[in-house]
Symmetry: C2
Subunit: 428 residues, 2 copies
Amino acid sequence: MITPKTAPGFNEYLPAEQRMFDHLVSLIRTMYERHGFTPLETPALELAQVLLAKEGGETAKQVYRFMKGDTDLALRFDLTVPLARYVAEHYHDLAFPFRRYQIQEAWRAEKAQAGRYRQFYQCDIDILGNIGTTADADILLTTAATFKALGLGRSVMHISNRKIFVGFLASLKLSEQSVEILRIIDRMAKQSADKTKKDLSVLGLPAAAIAQIISIVNAQGLESLRSLTISNTLFQEGLAELTELDSLLRAGGLTAEEYVIDLGIVRGLDYYTGMVFETLLVDKPEAGSMAGGGRYDNLVGHYRKEPVAGVGASIGISRLFNALKDSLKKGPATPAQALIIVFSDALLPYCFKTASTLRAQGINVMIYPGSDKPGKQMAYANKIGVPFVVLCGEEEAKNETLTIKNMASGDQQTMKIKEAVTYLAKSL
Amino acid sequence: MITPKTAPGFNEYLPAEQRMFDHLVSLIRTMYERHGFTPLETPALELAQVLLAKEGGETAKQVYRFMKGDTDLALRFDLTVPLARYVAEHYHDLAFPFRRYQIQEAWRAEKAQAGRYRQFYQCDIDILGNIGTTADADILLTTAATFKALGLGRSVMHISNRKIFVGFLASLKLSEQSVEILRIIDRMAKQSADKTKKDLSVLGLPAAAIAQIISIVNAQGLESLRSLTISNTLFQEGLAELTELDSLLRAGGLTAEEYVIDLGIVRGLDYYTGMVFETLLVDKPEAGSMAGGGRYDNLVGHYRKEPVAGVGASIGISRLFNALKDSLKKGPATPAQALIIVFSDALLPYCFKTASTLRAQGINVMIYPGSDKPGKQMAYANKIGVPFVVLCGEEEAKNETLTIKNMASGDQQTMKIKEAVTYLAKSL
């Protein structure tokens, strides 16, 4: 006898939770399509040499990589690298601008942490091609609308533009130290102002530069950024992009409560080149960023000579769900809307006829599949949370009626099959 | 520069095909829920020792198995073994009878064949617990209704019951040779009657037994099976089950065109113990079985002492889709129902306002994300197959109107935004 257990660091859900999770994924899919993104899936396994073209360091160590025969394979660790490979491979078969969404699992052998697992779903959108700020705005509007549809509480997008800091640091001739400086900025929200100043001075930055860095990160809105009158071209370009983005987000219906300009947002240092953002839950900021993304100059650098620019966002739905699931109201453990109680084998044909009629009208129906006593069948109905049971007894079969019991209220009514269809459809 | 390519034996779809595939999966999901099955997902990776508790031989060789650190892992090669592990692991948290569906990928390093790949989707349903023929009937009705909903042409379920042959062979004291005999029966449909007779006589079977085996396999319907008057208990039990099943399928609305009793159906020899079936496409029988399943006495034998019986079916949706996709009408490469053409940056806020209004009414809208000339944007609309384009020009912005072009008919009309919502909703 072998102990049945999942591998360490992997999780799965019981039926009621699985249904909640699926419901969220289905909302995300609907909202992504609402915003004109087309679905895409790529294989879980890729050639390791292709998948790991870029990655070194920590991520590469976490990848599940192995030989099968002569083939060096790896499980995807995100949805971005497979997108790059897909776009480069099928470049001439795709219409650009290419807008795709992808909702699939990724695998990383990370240290086990509460709410984080070694297999997790990501929900990515990207717009690729010769694109403008329109694309950045549409990515953000899609993400905001999707979070709203999920109904998991208020969320806020924190938006920055990488060009602002890169330009500013260039103007101070600090470009060589920009990675270290951006790392410190990334930590700013989590530490004291004094600690930040100390970290920056350890890098040997002059006090004036440190003061300016801090005032840029703390700038409240676009007006205060403009008032800094920094003349660097890239800085001004980033500011102009943020200004245009802001006007498009307003035109798209976002309010000041739904996003903030936050120059403290940094994200992947060797990847993003323009707008970057993160989505935080207002009532659960400690859970960290639940979505994020930004603009990149070239997605396919390792696979194609001609660059392909893009902008994208990713919702970490597994992480989001694991952070919130215990606070969500649990639904039934079944999609069935009605359970047909079976009183005897002789009545089974009437049960099947009833099920067939109701199902044809779009009602989700389960027939009790065993020959347990009616009391046990009712207890089962309660346990799985089915909202209605349908009693097909002898009287009902003779009169071509059904007795329908509302499990929440306990109300019970006998009616003709046709009326039952209307009654159930109305109640669900 | 690394050549971007998928691993050998793996496939992926271009957007129009991906959308067709997703549509089929969504229909299957809807029909499975319509019949009261609850969704389930299990991790792609399992502990190899747990996943391969039973498998030896060919399947084990095809499994993707590898070490990560000290952990011996394997990718699932079907959805049945993970179900067994799940049910055994969560036994006390599940309500029985347990009806689940699972639509996920499986991986096998099979030799590459046309239309068969190393990653493929399976769509499984199972009913587990203390169940009767009701469950067998419901599994078959669900499968038949699902194939009907898929709209891929007429399909027929070929149904048998393993007990009939097992009982019959026992009555002839041929139980020890039953595996070899069933293998020959499995081949019968594909070879001549003479070859079958020869194969059976090579096993040393008496001529009378051979004649009876052939007459059972060729029996047309239940009546002719009954007329064989074989008195073995197991044979009679199988025949009684088939008879009850037949009456429930009729009560559930299936016609004689939708299923046949076919004793030539064998399937997995060390697994099924009662009803077995396969679904064939009437117009493409050469493509082989597109779904199949049956009844088993114990799913969890390797993980639990107490047996869990069940009945299940699996639709090989990847195989089905690959067999048929070239004969299906291709839809658009986008879920967008309308593309907003952008005439100038100054008009962008009006474009975003329009998109936001239409999306809020449930219309899938794409805003052209670049600053290409309108002619190029129209060419893009044609290429991706979006049914409507929305022109937000200066006149339109001034008058708060939209000009909507039906891409199929070429008709173009200018109207107020509110009217446009009604017009688009009606046309889609």
